[in-house]
């Protein structure tokens, strides 16, 4: 299988076999093989550039890094495509390659609409497989998308790849493996599920002296079960994950493994504040549980309850649009609203510098 590659791709929409689905002309020049060999690890460089999204739960708590591969774990019904579209428009990337697998037709229209309204369509290439297209084409989508992204990256472009939804891709693989009478390993999925997913996700790369590929992929969890083979294997491959739950990015479980490559350079209170706020939020959750069981609340519990509410409303809500620095300042405000200095467990030097005057 091969795919045509040139600047002419930008703004175009194709299907899983590389044919146009936007009434434009077919492209046959400069064909590139898809599913090529993996990048030599010594030719990669350490991911160390932050990708700002202005979503505090991402920028502050789980920073997205150029060349990272991150799935968005979600259950059906969550606004994951909306989140993806928002990141596509707000993130700094030269080229966006969108792959839709088993997409509902209205979701396809939504992406087209949102990206053209946001003015991002002209730097976007879409490969779309809708739910009613042949299964084999679904399996081709990630390879097509990543082959194109890789070519752009080799031309010194920072490429953002958006894939939705990888569970449909895995299911397509399962369908075909079973038809071929392969021995299934776990819930009917083929034994090489991990290797297959990995060979796609590992295309995310920051080339030494050239561009980069960053991959954000939606993985819906059937039955909200993170131990289902698809999200489970994905989690072991990717560099963290975002959990989308109740319309918010959950701080527990969500993780950007590469954040420490960048969050030491943003502001010196970033790491300590991030850790302290999450720890407090975790204590808040415990207290909330106690409260719901009808126990009386101690003074400490009252503080935690106040904190949890502020944190959820001012930080976690997906509608919040703040730069990282604004979000950090807000974090200190919230802590100072609720606690005494020594209750936070933050190093004293940082408290002396950043604790807001009251």
């Amino acid at each position: 299988m091969r795919v045509s590659f040139s600047e002419d791709l930008l703004g175009r929409i194709f299907n899983g076999s590389g044919e146009p689905r936007d009434k434009g002309p077919a492209l046959t020049e400069n064909m590139k093989a898809i599913g090529g060999p993996s990048v030599n690890p010594t030719k990669r460089i350490l991911a160390n550039r932050m990708l700002r999204t202005n979503i505090p739960m991402i920028d502050m708590f789980n920073t997205l890094v150029v060349s990272q591969k991150l799935p968005i774990f979600s259950i059906s019904g969550e606004p994951y495509n909306q989140l993806l579209a928002r990141i596509a428009m707000q993130a700094e990337a030269d080229v966006i390659v969108l792959g839709g697998m088993g997409l509902k037709y209205d979701d396809f229209l939504y992406f087209k609409d949102a990206l053209s309204k946001g003015g991002a369509l002209s730097k976007t290439v879409m490969f779309i497989h809708t739910a009613s297209d042949p299964t084999v084409e679904c399996m081709m989508i990630p390879d097509m998308v990543l082959a194109v992204a890789e070519q752009f990256a080799l031309q010194n472009k920072d490429v953002l790849v958006l894939l939705t939804d990888m569970t449909n891709f895995a299911d397509a693989m399962k369908e075909i493996a079973i038809t071929q009478e392969q021995v299934p390993s776990n819930r009917g999925y083929p034994g090489d599920l991990y290797s297959q997913l990995a060979s796609r996700y590992e295309k995310a790369v920051d080339f030494a002296d050239s561009g980069s590929v960053t991959v954000l992929a939606v993985t819906t969890m059937p039955g909200d079960d993170v131990t289902h083979p698809v999200p489970d294997n994905t989690g072991y491959i990717t560099e963290g994950q975002y959990y989308l739950k109740g319309g918010r990015i959950e701080p527990f479980g969500s993780l950007s493994r590469l954040k420490q490559n960048v969050n030491g350079k943003t502001r010196k209170d970033h790491r300590a504040l991030m850790d302290a706020m999450i720890r407090m939020y975790s204590s808040y959750k415990e207290t909330l549980e106690k409260k719901n069981m009808g126990f009386s609340m101690s003074r400490w519990d009252e503080k935690l309850l106040k904190y949890g509410e502020l944190f959820e409303n001012k930080m976690m809500s997906l509608s919040v649009n703040l730069t990282l620095e604004q979000a950090l300042d807000l974090g200190w405000e919230i802590l100072a609203d609720c606690f005494q200095k020594e209750e936070t467990g933050i190093k004293s030097v940082l408290i002396d510098e950043f604790w807001p005057e009251r």
Binding site: G35, G36, P37, S38, V39, N40, P41, T42, K43, R44, L46, A47, S67, L154, V183, P184, S185, N186, G191, D192, Y194, S195, A198, S199, Y201, E202, K203, V205, F207, T227, D232, N233, G235, Y236, I237, E239, G240, Q241, F252, G253, L258, R271, D275, I278, R279, S282, E286, E289, K290, M293, F295, S296, S298, R299, W300, D301, E342, G345, K347, S348
Partner: protein, 589 residues
């Protein structure tokens, strides 16, 4: 070498059936010719005149009728000076050399020599003409980094040999003959400074295996004090994704008190290898004052690289570890992750249409895992010195459930279990080793009774904590509540450690003993505290002091200052040692 060829009769993924004429042996290496590109493969099953081979490369484009050449050799590692500091793939191809030849991508069919054959090494002979030598004894040395690299009589030579001639001290390449041996029948065997050894066979050129009793410092408090690992021992680190397995191994590879670290990145992320590659050359090993990279070998077969060489990478790395052990060095092999290796076995087993065992893993999974971990050990070498291979493997259980076959098979054969828990990692507690489920059979760096005391506080605190979830804080007695706070504090200031802080991440044994004593005093005391709010605030203050203490260099001025603040706080609350703690501290003196 006799030309032995065959032709492809069927292809299924990376499993190929080949019809051959001559003699073919199990695990023999052969090459499949695709459009003149030779693809390295290994024979894994022979039936009649059909061999089934696994290809170490992507197999697209292989056709029925393609020629296959058998080499008569097993999959081997090249052993000799120049291994340290290298970055290999699972088949011991140096990745930087491949990058020079092929550019950005790992194009298939390109192989390179594991060792640089051009480079000259300064050889000093130690054997003299007429000496009788055996496999595993050495005839000379070359300096490699900060070590004296011994030039061995190859491990595969059986019986005893006489040194017929040996070169003068001087510079030689790996291709040049440095000595000639004669066997009992007078046949001459020329020796170079390197030789090959089949990776799937354990090196056994030692006089005896000793019990692993010497603790290997990792500078991680939770490991060294609570769940220690011994030199020559084995341990495993299972945990769900995102629990910090790799970070923990990464810190261990930096600070562990061993001579050589071999990192086997087996089926994991390429980014993690890049991190090591970028970081290690910059870091200085305090023991030798040289770059950390000079004591490290990386075997990297990341998840997107072909699955068959993933299986090989584990064996290649343990072979290199054994080789350096033979020089009387202490080697730590970190394999991340053994589950990916097991999955590689499962993939092949599926293609071979073997009867699947639990979760479709092959039935021989357990014996393979046991055989791998058994290659660790503390040994006495023929010259009387000792060396060790310590193996630490991560396990990535599906769904974070430890009841799965790979974790269970591993737990049977290791000496320490560091189980990571999702709850601890979600609460950002690093390292996320769960103290309630983990265990170790090795000796701790701190006194065993003090350890027992700390563990009992943790267990007791956990019990009270779970009870408090049911009966609430007001249903808990002040005494129990204080015990609970004590266990929380122990967890926060001792079990947890900041791996990004240079001082905190590198906590020496001396310091661990010192801090433990202080903790036993604080935790083993009764205080004149009247209510729960006071108790909470006292332990919060205490915790804060200990955390600040952790970030300061051991025994410098600030360290002593904070210590006196801790003592002051202790006195202010009228701390009084209870009997048990008093006895523990007295015994320690």
């Amino acid at each position: 070498m006799t030309e032995n060829t065959g032709k492809v009769i069927s292809v299924n993924g990376n499993l190929i059936s080949v019809e051959f004429k001559g003699a073919v042996s199990m695990n023999e290496i052969c090459y499949v010719k695709v459009d003149d590109t030779p693809l390295k493969s290994e024979v894994i099953r022979i039936r009649g005149n059909v061999a089934q081979i696994q290809v170490y490369e992507m197999t697209n484009g292989i056709k029925c009728g393609d020629a296959v050449e058998f080499t008569g050799e097993m999959l081997s590692a090249e052993l000799g000076p120049g291994l340290l500091g290298q970055i290999y793939d699972g088949l011991q191809n140096p990745l930087p050399v491949l990058a020079e030849q092929a550019g950005w991508f790992l194009e298939r069919g390109i192989y390179a020599n594991g060792l640089n054959t051009e480079k000259k090494w300064e050889f000093t002979p130690t054997a003299t003409v007429g000496d009788v030598v055996r496999a595993g004894e050495y005839v000379g040395t070359v300096p490699e980094g900060s070590f004296l690299h011994k030039i061995f009589v190859p491990f595969y030579l059986l019986g005893s040999y006489t040194v017929k001639s040996i070169v003068e001290k001087g510079e030689y390449t790996l291709k040049q003959t440095v000595a000639v041996l004669t066997d009992e029948r007078g046949c001459e065997i020329p020796l170079t400074m390197s030789f090959k050894w089949p990776v799937k066979r354990a090196v056994k050129c030692y006089s005896e295996r000793l019990a692993p009793i010497e603790t290997m410092e990792t500078k991680v408090r939770l490991v060294d004090s609570f769940f220690p690992v011994a030199k020559g021992g084995t341990y495993c680190t299972p945990g769900p994704f995102g629990a910090g397995k790799t970070v923990l191994q990464h810190t261990t590879s930096k600070y562990a008190d061993v001579d050589i670290v071999i990192i086997a990145a087996c089926g994991e992320r390429a980014g993690e290898v890049v991190e090591t590659l970028t970081e290690f050359p910059e870091l200085i090993d305090p023991k030798t004052n040289r770059s950390l990279m000079e004591r490290t070998i990386i075997i990297c077969n990341t998840s997107s690289m072909p699955v068959a060489s993933r299986e090989a990478s584990v064996y290649t790395s343990v072979t290199l570890a054994e080789y350096y052990r033979q020089m009387g060095l202490h080697v730590l092999l970190l394999a991340d992750s053994t589950s990916r290796w097991a999955q590689a076995l499962r993939e092949m087993s599926g293609r071979l249409e073997e009867i699947p065992g639990e979760e479709a893993f092959p039935a021989y999974l357990e014996s393979y895992i046991a055989a791998f971990y058994e290659r660790a050990g503390y040994v006495r070498l023929p010259d009387g010195s000792t060396g060790s291979v310590t193996i630490g493997g991560t396990v990535s259980p599906a769904g974070g459930n430890f009841e799965e076959p790979v974790t269970q098979a591993t737990l049977k054969v290791v000496g320490a279990f560091h189980g990571l828990s999702r709850e601890r990692s979600d609460a950002r507690k690093y390292p996320a080793i769960d103290p309630l489920i983990s265990w170790s059979k090795y000796t701790s760096v701190i006194d065993s009774e003090k350890l027992q005391f700390c563990k009992s506080i943790l267990h007791h605190g956990y019990e009270i904590g779970s009870m408090m979830k049911v009966v609430g804080e007001e249903g808990t007695s002040l005494l129990d509540y204080i015990t609970y706070l004590k266990s929380e504090m122990l967890d926060a200031v001792y079990l947890q450690q900041n791996s990004f802080d240079l001082v905190d991440a590198n906590c020496s044994t001396m310091r661990q003993r010192y801090v433990t004593d202080k903790l036993v005093r604080v935790l083993g005391s009764n205080y004149s505290i009247q209510n729960k709010d006071d108790a909470r605030s006292f332990f919060n203050n205490m915790r804060q002091k200990f955390i600040d203490w952790n970030y300061i260099e051991f025994k410098n001025e600030d360290f002593n200052k904070i210590e006196s603040e801790i003592d002051k706080l202790y006195c202010k609350a009228n701390g009084e040692l209870d009997k048990l703690a008093e006895k523990l501290l007295k015994d320690g003196e």
